[in-house]
């Protein structure tokens, strides 16, 4: 049940005034606004809730890191450069050690991406973190609705590892070196900021993979009014994902696991060399997994996937 998205669409769409300086409002990874003739800004906000978006025993450093990472990923999916962050931290009690760890994790990632944390709010209540990020964009931002028939469908990195890493964490695998890569994929995902920037002007559409590859690819398809055909033999779950989950479950995690924060994007076949150059420049692996065709919906090796097959990841607490 994607009730949260239904709510957004029905009640939080179109609120307030229609302003001329809003290029894109609710409905993409970030809003696009133009404060002046020579500035295009991207605005995003994401909330993480204890026990819903991370396990209660998640290290504070990881909570701080991830609270920013999910927002950087929104800017990455638009091809932007993150600039300024605001942090809304709601805490049940004053736990200085926890807050210090939270701040360390957030600070580390902010510095890595040249982001300044310029303000926010600390309140008392159930543990909840909302981070807002403002980014800039030189070229026209990447959007979800630009996929065209004939384009190829791509994904970055190693989808499915984050959900397996969360499984490993929850199964008590907290220190073994064997599953460290998977754990890190959940605890400290790498937002694909450089890749997004490099794909600006190259990709025709992009989205970040937060709810699972099929769910998020589906948003590109529906926003663009096209069908997406995925080729099963092109999906390549990583060796460690297969070692953890077994081959069949690894493919399920690859297609439907959440929290990866990879980029899923489309580009014309003629841009294939530019896509590969962008991936090299960003030092991020990318893989062509399918094609954009006329129609609607998602297909795996020619078989239509039922809507509930790619309804999206509802986080582990659901």
């Amino acid at each position: 049940m994607r009730s949260e998205f239904d709510l957004i669409k029905r009640y939080l769409t179109g609120l307030g005034s229609a302003r001329d300086d809003v290029i894109c409002g609710v409905g993409d990874d970030a809003a696009i606004v133009t404060p002046s003739a020579d500035a295009t800004l991207l605005l995003a906000l994401d909330t993480l809730v204890d026990g819903v978006h991370f396990p209660t025993d998640c290290p504070a450093e990881s909570v701080g890191y991830r609270a920013l990472a999910v927002n950087l990923s929104d800017i990455a999916a638009m091809g932007g450069r993150p600039c300024w962050a605001l942090v809304g931290l709601t805490l049940p009690a004053v736990d200085e050690a926890w807050v210090a760890g939270f701040a360390r994790g957030l600070d580390w990632l902010a510095r890595a991406h040249d982001v300044a944390v310029v303000g926010g709010d600390v309140t008392r209540g159930p543990l909840t973190i909302s981070v807002q990020i403002t980014g800039s964009c030189a070229a026209p931002p990447l959007r979800r609705d630009g996929a065209r028939v004939g384009d190829e469908l791509w994904v970055s990195g190693r989808p499915g590892e984050a959900s397996a890493g969360l499984e490993a964490w929850q199964a008590g695998e907290r220190s073994s070196s064997r599953w460290q890569g998977l754990r890190n994929a959940f605890l400290a995902p790498q937002p694909r900021v450089l890749l997004g920037q490099a794909l600006c002007g190259v990709a025709s559409a992009a989205i970040d993979v937060s709810d699972g590859l099929l769910a998020d690819a589906g948003h590109i398809g529906s926003a663009s009014g096209v069908a997406l055909h995925i080729t099963g033999s092109r999906l390549q779950p990583s060796a460690r994902l297969q070692a953890w989950a077994g081959p069949a479950q690894a493919q399920t995690a690859y297609l439907a696991g959440g929290d990866d924060y990879e980029l899923c994007f489309t580009a014309p076949p003629a841009a294939r060399r530019q896509v590969m150059a962008a991936a090299r420049a960003a030092r991020t692996p990318v893989r062509c997994i399918g094609a954009v065709r006329a129609g609607e919906g998602l297909y795996l090796d020619g078989q239509a996937l039922a809507a509930n097959k790619f309804a999206g990841y509802e986080h582990f607490g659901s």
Copy 2:
């Protein structure tokens, strides 16, 4: 105990990179950033928590209204013009009637101030709302640290009414016309956006009164390195506040009640006519309640107020 502010200052100050385009980071009502040579933007984020910042039986319309109002007030205190809002809504369950009411209250206020709601996030969890606002500013923004010895101290509107209105609401006074004005001061405070804009270039310092007049005036004093001397006879609790609370408690509410979202500001005596003109233009009453002198701390009729006298409103749930 102002533990929340200690936490902000100690752990959430100076996080991330020091960027040249950040004019003012953590420590004022909003951050000031300059995305391009001809754009100055204000960024603020505030969180409201069920049972902490509003009673659980607060009407949904009021929750939506207030979630935006507290952010508009931050922009008002900087003299800015609010433009775009993001809404992070965390809900325990899908309650369509509640969300519809929340959206109505927020939409009404957003339209009244020409603000576009351009995105956000809806998640499952304990009821918490984080709203982020981006504003623009033509003149240099008003800050907390500009009060100078010799300036006069001013406050807008009717401080203390919001805390009395909350008391009335909690005492079961939910429909009587006698207390409607007080109830509305809490349920639907008017952010002083026009006044803040009109005071830009006139006032020397400003802050919004969210934690109580003394507490917030104290922030101007400490940020500016000056003492603030308040004249008791100049404080004028409204007739309805006095009717509700009695004369003595009315003065306490005036000085220490929270959630007013009035503006407290300083200006040189020579600017008195401009201050009055700004108030007329904004159709908002203002009152001179004291003076800025050398030294530090807050004084009422020459008596130093102990730090805990103006430690600030910690919301009714504390």
